[in-house]
Subunit: 151 residues, 2 copies
Amino acid sequence: MSTNTRFAVAVHVLTVLAWSGDEPVKSDGVATSVNTNPVVIRRTLCALSRAGLVSSQTGAAGGSRLARQPGQITLLEVYRAVEGGGIFSLHRQPPSMSCPVGMHIETVLEDVFEEVQTAVERVLAKITIEQVLQKVGPCLTAGRKKARAAR
Amino acid sequence: MSTNTRFAVAVHVLTVLAWSGDEPVKSDGVATSVNTNPVVIRRTLCALSRAGLVSSQTGAAGGSRLARQPGQITLLEVYRAVEGGGIFSLHRQPPSMSCPVGMHIETVLEDVFEEVQTAVERVLAKITIEQVLQKVGPCLTAGRKKARAAR
DNA sequence: AATATTTGTAACTGTATCGGTCACAAATGC
DNA sequence: GCATTTGTGACCGATACAGTTACAAATATT
């Protein structure tokens, strides 16, 4: 349905940043993990930055890091930062207003869509980047130590 | 997000059929209410027919009608009939397996997506076409009587 | 101050999806 | 047989998306 991978990429990006802790990560490094082009990552980072989830710095020794603790970033905020519009869409052309069904169906559908949206957001609000990070790396501490040593 | 209006159209179609009761409706009539092309409607009807929600007949005096009572058709069934794939999508290219985050992020995301999907389906399972029909036409009985008289 | 590096962003490309349209065979009732 | 309607394949134009190139602005290093 959604041909759009922004949310998945955004969560991935934030998890990489969280994994790196205070150390800023370059878009190129994130792109390697996500297996895509650095510009794609920068666009995502830009959206996340505008939402206040990430802070970036230009120049040599630049890069991005989380603007908050991973436990303070919910997937709902991520979703809202990178995804416009709702889950479902109404008709492209407005229905016929001469038909009793056509006249009211959009209002009814909007109510349904709103219920769905609320349900989705309730789920996403309960999950933080920290939880994702922990599920990603059960051997988290070891991984981070190793990564620090490698630098 | 979803650039796809199938679900909205499908609910609209079924509501029109429910409104018409036992009387079969031609794709052309539905198309007028939805304000689109009859072929688009027939494609939707075909998917709904494959799901057993609608039965159609070719030939003169043909058309489509609900295969069940409106109260026995949930929006979840409609959703499953016309919408393939889930709400969110994973990466287009699989992430790097050399990165600890890349290695596991897809599994974690799949879990999240499943939770979201379940939440959505729970909402849709609770709403029937009959409920939609009643919200669409508070003056339902009058409308149907008038429509019958007009034939 | 000069240089190297990195972000932010605009512009363009190729691909996929979607709704809309035409065309026509198959089915059905008169 | 004839008119009508569904079912379906084929095609078109619009749109969205990920990927890519290119470059100005910002920043650290020397």
